[in-house]
Symmetry: C2
Subunit: 383 residues, 2 copies
């Protein structure tokens, strides 16, 4: 159990490295410290060990650290709290990764409020860097759940790890989709690992653990209180290249995850729904605000593909060749003779005008055709 | 009747102006001449009168005029065709506007393929420059028709003229919405005015005539053949500041209207629908390609407002002050004390995180609040 709880203290690691790791872990146990303040402390003093050695006045100079937090930090029973947490973690058989550990999730480490400690069950694999979050409302419609599950399955099938929050509704559908496809999935909690919430998702959590991990920054014993969830959401987006909001009303916490994603420089996607449909309003609003509209997995993968490292050839799909509709193929073939005006195309293809225009739009979107001046189109591979 | 058919030949108009107008009208009667070729001829020779005087070799030098078209133009029985058309128009009691007439629709005159002649029943008012097209599929769902009708009514209520194509489905819903609101509406046909298509919309056409106009570039007797409709669609977008596609599959002619709008530098809007819903695929695809997502009339009007001239104070609504939700108002008030981090906001507002984030997103979209670095927000009116 100790091995699992302290994977980095083994092998060729120096005593001061172990001490620094424990100092970081202990910082994660100070309830008053948020992720951003913590990174400020590390940046100011150079190491967690030095943060613990800093004087009260020195702590007070760090932006974001008020006198109350500085005092709480100085008074914190560091050794005792750490030993207690380590013992609890060992008893519960959890695994722990501390910020700076070589296997700390690479994407998450990049964000300014990266959590100092992650508790988890299951496995965190380097390939999970190619992750996409699929999130949404707890009270979802059958439409939203179906789309979320299908998207998750299709993306998992193509080697992406699906990140979500184990909540009812869309989150659960996203995890299930990844599991359907035999893919990887990570569930991030807003509580300690001993408090799976909602309780009826304990079975789902077990399946997630077998094909990925359930993880949290909250120590054992932390209840799933409301304020933890917005904070949890930054980890969901932080682990991911992009966040897909599959269905959300305007008051859904999924919008917070989208906000975090924007801040962290990650892509934001949303699945549209009917206007005036209460459960789609958040998604439609996100699209208006610039989120990418998602119809299929291709909309997500085409956007993220440049960032997906080919680190897992076993699972990575070859870049999918664009599939063309019959009309698109026909129009594409006709354009092999050179640029044509849309009217000429309609006549040559003998297609209804609408079909021809739609085929051209499709080909434009697949970057196979471009529009010159007027309504003249040519293939991208034209000489 | 003659007065209606030749409104510009009256009053202080010179004989050469009358001749030029008739020369233009006659150019519109040559079936082989498209709008673009026609504008090329006018640009090359300076006037329609000079086009008719041009030699065969001179006509051949105009880009887009092939030898066959040049010959057709030289052989065209200009005087006879014009007298015949004028007589038919007078008998039918139509009104006619010729390109260059002072009351030719201003927006339409701007496009490179502006039709030389417009036949219409009803009235074309200068205020109709503030127009928006609402178009979509003939086979529409109740969802699409409801949204189109409501949008049309709300926009008409705010002084916008609603342009559409009198077709079944979305077009009819758009005209009806404008009529519901007691607003103005224009219907553009793909046939002569004696061939209202579909026939069951004759009653609707009558209502449109009473509150706007039914118009076409096609002479009397032109049947509603398929190839006329893509051509007709450029007039729908040309008359409008923007085109809203309310519901459309990927093979709908409404996508052509959207294409025309882009080309003409007009705004393109689309109403989203559920993914995998056949009748919404065209709209969702347009949004992916950059069209603006429309939930309500405000999404349209906010985009077009700068271009809507306050020419009709009687009907123009005052710029609507942004209406705030209760949560938005609360968050906005709290921010009057200065910038705040989202976490602090959540605590001060005592709102669930999702509601607070959503309120911030809403305020950002209404340009009342901006995000500083991190998750810190401030009011735009902050000192």
């Amino acid at each position: 159990m100790t091995r699992d709880a302290r994977p980095q203290a083994m092998g060729g690691v120096t005593a001061s490295e172990v001490a620094e790791r424990e100092a970081r872990w202990a910082l994660g146990l100070v309830p008053q410290l948020g992720g951003v303040a913590l990174q400020g402390l590390l940046a100011t003093f150079g190491s967690a060990t030095k943060v613990w050695e800093a004087s009260l006045p020195a702590l007070g100079t760090v932006p974001g650290i008020g006198p109350a937090v500085a005092r709480a930090l100085r008074r914190f029973p560091r050794g005792e709290a750490l030993r207690e947490d380590q013992a609890r973690v060992a008893r519960a058989g959890l695994r722990v990764i501390v910020w700076g550990d070589p296997d700390y999730p690479r994407r998450l480490q990049e964000i300014p409020s990266a959590p100092p400690v992650l508790y988890f069950r299951g496995t965190l694999a380097p390939g999970d860097d190619a992750a996409v979050a699929i999130v949404g409302a707890r009270r979802a419609t059958a439409y939203g759940e179906t789309v979320a599950r299908e998207l998750a399955a299709e993306l998992a099938r193509r080697g992406l790890c699906i990140v979500s929050g184990l909540a009812r509704g869309i989150d659960a559908a996203a995890h299930r989709g990844a599991l359907d496809a035999g893919g990887r999935t990570l569930a991030v909690l807003g509580s300690g690992l001993d408090q799976i919430y909602p309780a009826e998702h304990r079975g789902l959590a077990g399946e997630v653990i077998a094909h990925g991990a359930v993880l949290t920054e909250f120590p054992l014993g932390t209840p799933p209180v409301r304020l933890n969830f917005p904070r949890r959401n930054r980890i969901i987006s932080g682990l991911s290249l992009g966040v897909v909001v599959a269905e959300a009303g305007v008051d859904s916490g999924a919008l917070i995850t989208a906000h975090h994603a924007l801040e962290q420089g990650r892509e934001v996607f949303a699945v549209p729904g009917r206007v005036h449909a209460r459960y789609s309003e958040g998604c439609n609003r996100l699209i208006k605000a610039g989120a990418k509209l998602v119809e299929t997995w291709e909309d997500v993968l085409s956007e993220l593909a440049p960032q997906v490292r080919p680190s897992r050839p076993r699972r990575a799909a070859p870049p999918p060749p664009p599939t063309l509709t019959q009309a698109e193929q026909q129009v594409y073939d006709i354009l092999s003779d050179g640029p044509l005006h849309i009217d000429a195309l309609i006549v040559r293809a003998n297609l209804p005008g609408g079909r021809a225009a739609s085929a051209l739009l499709g080909l434009e979107m697949k970057s196979l055709v471009r529009q010159l001046t007027g309504k003249v189109f040519e293939r991208h591979d034209s000489p």
